[in-house]
Every structure is written in structure tokens, then in C-alpha cells.
């Protein structure tokens, strides 16, 4: 049979092509386009090559923000992942009212919008009317997120832990529930300690969900914007100015479009790089090329 030449099949992929183009490719290319130009106003643009990238990479404030960001994200992971696992291990199993209640309580923080979380903590931490701030003041702890950098930084961190540990716990809980009871019985019979059960049964079985949890929490915390913005707007000083804050100041505050675009691309690559590193580490340690 002769092959029928019919190019009309191309029409079938047009919808997908258009959607991807408008949702991803065109915006991204616009950013790339901006990043290589100096823009003074509509119609007044000059090609500047890689100049913006050089400026961005040499920017001291950006370096500070990046270091702050990395420390913050690692702190988020270091607290939320172990805490989430612990909570999941302590949760009741099976189908009971207790289980449902625990699940609902855990899911509650996840339902609250970011800026509301920020507002809650902003009020909660105030020394005059906030429960937390007032309590600290009453027992003599000097806590003030508006002019103490460390306090502000810790508040943002605790806020994130409060908001998102539930997600890690729920993911881990799902992983734990998928372990058949025979595994625990066998471990009991093999005389395994609680630690050994965790190390050789629970942790390996949670690996899949932990990859997701680490990646989600990393990417999310690396792009944190709303909470510090609501709390102190990035202050005091620059102590809670993370990458997103700085980017927004640059793009919206100073209208430095070219520089901000170059920054966005660098930012994107950093997130991608870190995610790749985490993914590789976790999958490797699981598979472990022990030969």
C-alpha cells in the first residue's frame, strides 16, 4: 500500500502547541529577551548582550539574599522533614474517629492563604496585643520582630514550619500506611529494635514520598515571598529579604526590567540546580549502588 501523504495531522497538535506557547514558552522567552536589553521605555531599547548577567552575578545585595535564602531553605528542610516524619510516626493508624480528627487538624494550616498566615503571625507576635509577643514580654524575653533581625528571621521560619509541616506529615503518613502489617510482625520476630524498624522498614518505604516532600518544601521555601512581605516587608534592614523580595524590589520598585529579567533566569537555574541535586541524592541513597 502506498503511503498517504497528509499533513493535516499537524492541525491536531495546534491546541497543545498554542497552550504551551502562551503559558510557558512566550513568557519565558520574553524574560530572556528583556534580559539582554537595556530598556528605558516603550520603543527605547538597546541590545546589551550579557551585561545584565554580569551585573547580577556581581551584585553584593544579591549574594547576601542568596546566602540568606539558602540558609533559610535548608533550615526549613532540616526542621520540617524530621518533624513531619515524627508526627506521621506518632499518628494513629486504621479507620477510627481519632484518625479522621488528626487528619483534619493537620490539614487545617494547609487551607490558610499565605498572606493570611503572614497576618496571623504578624499580630500573634506583636508585643502589645499579640498572644505570643505579649507572653514573651511578660516572662521577660526580649522579642521584637520589627527591629531585631534574628527575631524577624526566626518568626518567618517558625511561620513556615507552622504552615507546611503538616504537608510533610501527611505525605509521610500516606507512605507509612502503605506498609503491610506483616513487615512489622516480621521485624518483631526478627528481634528488631524500634530504631531498626524505622531505619530498615519505615524509612525505605517512605523514600518515594520523601522525595516529593523535600522537593516541594525546597522549591516552595526557596521562592518564599508573601510571609516576610506581610510581616516586615523584608526588614528589619535586609534580614528577611529573600531572593523573591529582592527581585520584586528590582522589577516593580525600581523598574529595572533588564536586570530583573537576568536575575529571574539565574534564579530559575538555581532552583532547578538545587532540585536536581536533592533528587539525585535521595534516589541514589535509596538505590545505593552496593555491588
Amino acid at each position: 500500500m502506498d503511503k498517504v501523504q497528509d499533513n493535516r495531522a499537524w492541525f491536531l497538535i495546534i491546541p497543545v502547541f498554542l497552550i504551551v506557547a502562551f503559558s510557558a514558552v512566550i513568557p519565558l522567552m520574553t524574560v530572556v529577551n528583556y534580559s539582554v536589553q537595556e530598556i528605558f521605555g516603550p520603543g527605547q531599547t538597546f541590545f546589551v548582550g550579557t551585561e545584565w548577567f554580569e551585573v547580577v552575578l556581581a551584585d553584593e545585595r544579591l549574594h547576601d539574599a542568596l546566602i540568606r535564602q539558602i540558609i533559610y531553605s535548608l533550615a526549613v528542610l532540616a526542621i520540617e522533614i524530621p518533624l513531619g516524619i515524627l508526627i506521621a510516626l506518632g499518628m494513629p493508624g486504621g479507620r477510627s474517629a481519632k484518625t479522621s480528627l488528626t487528619l483534619v487538624l493537620l490539614a487545617l494550616p494547609l487551607l490558610i492563604p499565605f498572606n493570611v498566615v503572614g497576618t496571623i503571625w504578624q499580630i500573634f507576635g506583636r508585643g502589645d496585643i499579640g498572644l505570643l509577643g505579649a507572653t514573651f514580654r511578660a516572662i521577660g524575653i526580649d522579642y521584637n520582630y520589627t527591629n531585631n533581625s534574628l527575631d524577624a528571621w526566626l518568626t518567618v521560619l517558625v511561620m513556615d514550619v507552622w504552615h507546611w509541616t503538616s504537608l510533610v506529615a501527611l505525605l509521610c503518613y500516606a507512605g507509612l500506611q502503605s506498609i503491610p502489617p506483616a513487615f512489622y510482625q516480621a521485624a518483631k520476630i526478627d528481634g528488631a529494635s524500634k530504631w531498626a524498624v524505622f531505619r530498615y522498614i519505615q524509612l525505605p518505604k517512605m523514600r518515594g514520598v520523601l522525595i516529593i516532600a523535600v522537593l516541594l518544601r525546597f522549591m516552595d521555601s526557596f521562592m518564599i515571598y508573601t510571609e516576610p512581605f506581610v510581616l516586615t516587608g523584608g526588614g528589619p534592614g535586609n534580614s528577611t529579604t529573600f531572593l523573591s523580595q529582592y527581585l520584586t524590589q528590582m522589577a516593580v520598585g525600581q523598574f529595572d526590567i533588564g536586570k530583573a529579567a537576568a536575575f529571574s533566569i539565574v534564579y530559575f537555574l538555581i532552583v532547578l540546580l538545587f532540585s536536581f541535586i536533592f533528587y539525585t541524592i535521595i534516589t541514589r541513597t535509596g538505590e545505593g549502588e552496593k555491588k
Binding site: P180, A182, A186, I189, D190, G191, Y200, P204, G288, K290
Partner: protein, 358 residues
């Protein structure tokens, strides 16, 4: 190794059991000998897993006691009883190698590393796992994984008993046969007390020295495969063991005979009081004799079908309103018109309310 005793043991998942049906395991007093291979046989839901979990210590019985070598262990954990158990589906530690998997129960018990190595290699040898010792357990086939599960049970030389909970379910028929032989060999070599739960009569009969048949939570008979076959104490044993199972017919009692649809069938000499309950007459197809009518003690029947099974023939006959099966040798001729059957009194069993009375 240990002798296992059940003292008035019973278990119910109900908080306040009253009727016998409330019990997952009905009252039981028995002694299982040291170093023997036992099989727990019965259909799903008959209580065999309940009994196994009580023996292993995963479940505390609601009534009675379990004794190992005379010592009350009813409330002891599996570790304290020193039990090994192999489950239906392979349980392996994914992140460990086969060697580490086998060594795990020993290392947890702080056995010196030299002994660990010796035992692991012995067991691996016995189960044909030597070539895989360095591989990660996760990468193996399901039957290799199940072998590892078994190996973890066998690796401890000092266990009181090894329990197998339908361990060959996931294994293909050929490997199944080999593994069962292996277990049997290991049993003969080390004289371990082994308890094997299964719903497959062939598995139970080929593996065990003694088979305990369970039915609706009760242990209806404990005996050697031969005893179960020749002298089933309960109609369920007759029906469950053997293929096809025992022929059963409701009957009434005469002086020294039973009446099935008004046809007298001679009974063994033992006198049976003709009181109470529902009587049934049973005979295994293997023992039912097919002859020509006219010979002494024979009852004329109609042959309705013959199945040639290759090594034997299975005849289906009608006696009154009942259909009976008779297993015959390949050579035996089957009379077409004037067929008759004879019930050898030695093999004719009388049951009252399902229990053997004569």
C-alpha cells in the same frame, strides 16, 4: 526446640462471647511434640491463622494458656518465646543485601559475627541463595524473596519453633514442590519443630508428620496423614482430605445396620445408641467396592458415569436418591447392567452430628 501445649485455649474477637460461633478459635487442649513437623489445614476463615498468631505471640488469646516446655508463655512476645515466623507474602528489608537480610535476626540478638557468617552461609546453601548473597534483596524475583523470608526463620539455630503461614502462595508450582522438599529435608536434618499453615491438602499431607484439620474455629482432628485418610473423625475431614472426598449419606439406624433410603447397610460391630442427632454414613471412594449383583452382601446400583483419570477410574453410581463415587483400578471392568456395590464394614463410618461414632 520446645514442646508446645495448649491448655483450654480459646480466642474470640468479641468482647463478651456467649455462643460457640462467637469464637474464632474454640476451646482446645493439646500437646504438640518437640521436633515434629505439624500442618494446620483448613479453608479460609477456619481459625488457623488465629491459632498460628497465638502460638507465635502476635495475638494474646482471650482464654486459656499456651505453654512451651511446660512454661506459660501466653503473654510473652515473639522474641521472648524465641519463635520464627514466615509470612504469606515475602517480607524483606529492601535496603539490605541478601546476606544482611539473613544475618539480621542474628545480629539483632548480638550473636558473634563468626557464628553469624557460618549460619548465614549454611542457610544460603540449603536454600540455593549462595550466588545471590551480595545482591540487594529488592532486585530479586518473588520466589527468591520468599526464600529469604524463610531463610531468616531458619537462620536462628535456637528457635522454639518455626511457623510458616502459607509461605508458598506466591511461588510457582514447580518451585513450590522443590521448596517443600527443601523444608522437609531441613526438618529431617535439624529436627526443628515446624508448624505449617495451609489450605492445600497436598501441601499439608506431604510436609507434615501430623496434620491438624480446622473447621469453623474448631480443631476437628489431629493425626498423621494416614489416620486422616483412613479414619476421619469428622465429616469435614472426610470431605476436605482426599479427592474426591468421602461419600456421605443421611441414614437411620437399625440393629446392626444402617438404613439409607430403606436399604440396609451393615455397620461395624461397635454398638451405637440410636439416640439423638442426625446420622450420616460415610465411606471413602477408594474403599467402596464395585461388583456384579448377586455376590454376597452386595447392593444393586446403577452406574451413571465413569471418569478415566489415567492411573485410576472414578465411577459414579446411584444408590436410591444418592450419588456415590468409587475409585477403581485401571484394569477393573465396570459391569454395565448388573452392577452392585459392597460396603466393607471396616471402612464404613457412622457419624452423628458430623462426629464419628462408629
Amino acid at each position: 526446640m520446645a514442646t508446645i501445649q495448649f491448655d483450654n485455649l480459646g480466642h474470640s474477637y468479641h468482647p463478651h462471647p456467649t455462643r460457640p460461633e462467637d469464637y474464632a478459635l474454640r476451646r482446645l487442649s493439646q500437646e504438640w511434640e518437640d521436633g515434629k513437623a505439624y500442618a494446620l489445614l483448613g479453608p479460609s476463615g477456619c481459625g488457623k491463622s488465629t491459632l498460628l498468631n497465638i502460638i507465635s505471640g502476635l495475638l494474646v488469646p482471650s482464654e486459656g494458656r499456651v505453654l512451651f516446655d511446660g512454661l506459660d508463655v501466653t503473654r510473652c512476645t515473639p522474641e521472648e518465646r524465641n519463635i520464627a515466623q514466615v509470612f504469606q507474602f515475602p517480607v524483606i528489608y529492601d535496603t539490605m543485601t541478601v546476606y544482611e537480610n539473613l544475618a539480621f535476626p542474628l545480629r539483632n540478638r548480638k550473636v558473634p559475627e563468626a557464628d553469624v557468617d557460618r549460619r548465614v552461609r549454611q542457610v544460603a546453601e540449603a536454600l540455593d541463595l549462595t550466588a545471590d548473597l551480595k545482591k540487594r534483596a529488592q532486585r530479586l524475583t518473588p520466589d527468591a524473596k520468599q526464600k529469604i523470608s524463610m531463610g531468616r526463620g531458619l537462620v536462628r539455630s535456637d528457635v522454639a519453633a518455626i511457623l510458616f503461614d502459607e509461605p508458598l502462595t506466591v511461588i510457582d508450582p514447580h518451585t513450590k514442590w522443590i521448596l517443600r522438599r527443601k523444608l522437609r529435608q531441613i526438618h529431617e536434618e535439624y529436627r526443628l519443630t515446624m508448624i505449617y499453615v495451609t489450605h492445600d491438602q497436598v501441601e499439608a499431607l506431604t510436609f507434615a508428620d501430623k496434620v491438624a484439620v480446622m473447621y469453623e474455629g474448631a480443631m476437628v482432628q489431629l493425626g498423621t496423614p494416614q489416620e486422616l485418610f483412613e479414619n476421619p473423625l469428622h465429616t469435614f475431614v472426610g470431605y476436605f482430605i482426599g479427592s474426591p472426598g468421602i461419600n456421605l449419606m443421611p441414614c437411620t439406624l437399625g440393629n446392626d445396620h444402617a438404613l439409607v433410603d430403606g436399604i440396609p447397610i451393615p455397620l461395624p460391630d461397635r454398638a451405637v445408641p440410636a439416640v439423638g442427632g442426625k446420622f450420616e454414613l460415610g465411606i471413602r471412594p477408594e474403599f467402596l467396592e464395585l461388583t456384579r449383583s448377586g455376590s454376597a452382601g452386595s447392593i444393586p446400583v446403577q452406574v451413571t458415569g465413569v471418569d478415566d483419570l489415567g492411573t485410576s477410574k472414578l465411577a459414579t453410581v446411584r444408590l436410591g436418591s444418592h450419588t456415590l463415587k468409587a475409585r477403581l483400578s485401571e484394569e477393573q471392568e465396570i459391569p454395565a447392567l448388573d452392577a452392585a456395590i459392597r460396603f466393607p464394614t471396616r471402612w464404613t463410618k457412622l457419624y452423628r452430628d458430623s462426629h464419628l461414632v462408629g
